[in-house]
Subunit: 246 residues, 2 copies
Amino acid sequence: MVLAVTHDHAEDAIDVVAFDGDDTLWHNESIFSMTHERFAELMAPYVQVESIGERLLATEMRNLRLFGYGVKSFMLSMIETAIELSRGKVTAAEVQAIIEAGRSMLEHPVELLDGAEDAIRSVSEHHRVMLITKGDLFDQESKLARSGLGDHFDAVEIVATKDERAYRRIMNRHGADPRRFVMIGNSPRSDIVPVLDLGGWAIHVPHPLTWAHERIEDEGEMAARERFRLAASLDEVPAVIADLRA
Amino acid sequence: MVLAVTHDHAEDAIDVVAFDGDDTLWHNESIFSMTHERFAELMAPYVQVESIGERLLATEMRNLRLFGYGVKSFMLSMIETAIELSRGKVTAAEVQAIIEAGRSMLEHPVELLDGAEDAIRSVSEHHRVMLITKGDLFDQESKLARSGLGDHFDAVEIVATKDERAYRRIMNRHGADPRRFVMIGNSPRSDIVPVLDLGGWAIHVPHPLTWAHERIEDEGEMAARERFRLAASLDEVPAVIADLRA
């Protein structure tokens, strides 16, 4: 996608505003939660329900390096966890049920968070607007298409991991100065910290369901940083941005 | 990645040369073939070996719309096919063996095709050079990093599907005129036809192992098109490009 729109602004004003996708603009973790419940049901004959979530997370973390993020990785980690938890007794029908649960996730309608479209529209009146989302390319493209938000973005970047290196590459690619760049998202680890570390601005819009892996230990320290801002919801985002000065 | 290098050229000269990755610059299908063999071994107790490949391809095609390309999709399709072929009798240990076979694919060393590095180096003396590869973002980034070729490219584009729309978006993004754009690859469906359809040049470097899905019915018609060229190997590519005139 091309950055066709450029805005004329003072040197010190915000130039690029980037939104995260999952659990910032559209619901995601709720679909994973639903599937966690289904998985726990399937595993109930084999094991104490309490231990299931922890074991699944451990498998996901072990597989992350090789599989990356996304629903297909999650499906494979569920299958491996089922084999472990059942001590090799899980049946083919149960494995198939896990695959079907994953398929339902991929087919699930994309539901926007309240205020998503208004926030993007409002911000795009004064700034270049970008989507920066991570995970499975195929799945993220599909979600973006189904979200109906595609036309609002001047650029879309789907990356495997949202770290400092990825953000620096995106900023270079689009000629964006970090001091005039704002990232908006729910994940301290992926949306906030790496952008602050690059000298950019970050607006944290917390989501009640945020995957354990996306949290960081010291969110207090993060919140105390100069270019950190908090917004209770997307509705507050345009006003928060209007108050930023590079 | 940024297009840092621009070359001064006449209006009618080739500007951008893009290479495909899998089975154009590095081996890929051979790793799938190895896994097909392992899968056939695992399925041998349940079913006639001859029918296995066909059934697996049918599952892959059915899942393509929802899962996309790549090793994780292939792993899930192998598991589903195993459940079908065994009529639900496949064991947890066999499912685990399928996952291990997939894991080996992801960990397999990236082996360059003969002449890959020389061809890119030679072409980059006179043109902008790009990698355009499709499939799983995480897996492709990992393969590019392990290939050692990353620094040779002025830009890298990883896409979910290589169709006309994807190529048009890439050309727009990099300000590339299709008439001055050449795509090099082994897949008629993904590398050659969509680029010719956009008015660009395409150099087909056939690979002995090319996935059935990447073939097209009428390769003769393709080969007769004005901006189609054939190269027996990557070694021939620089000379073929030097002969092109927009």
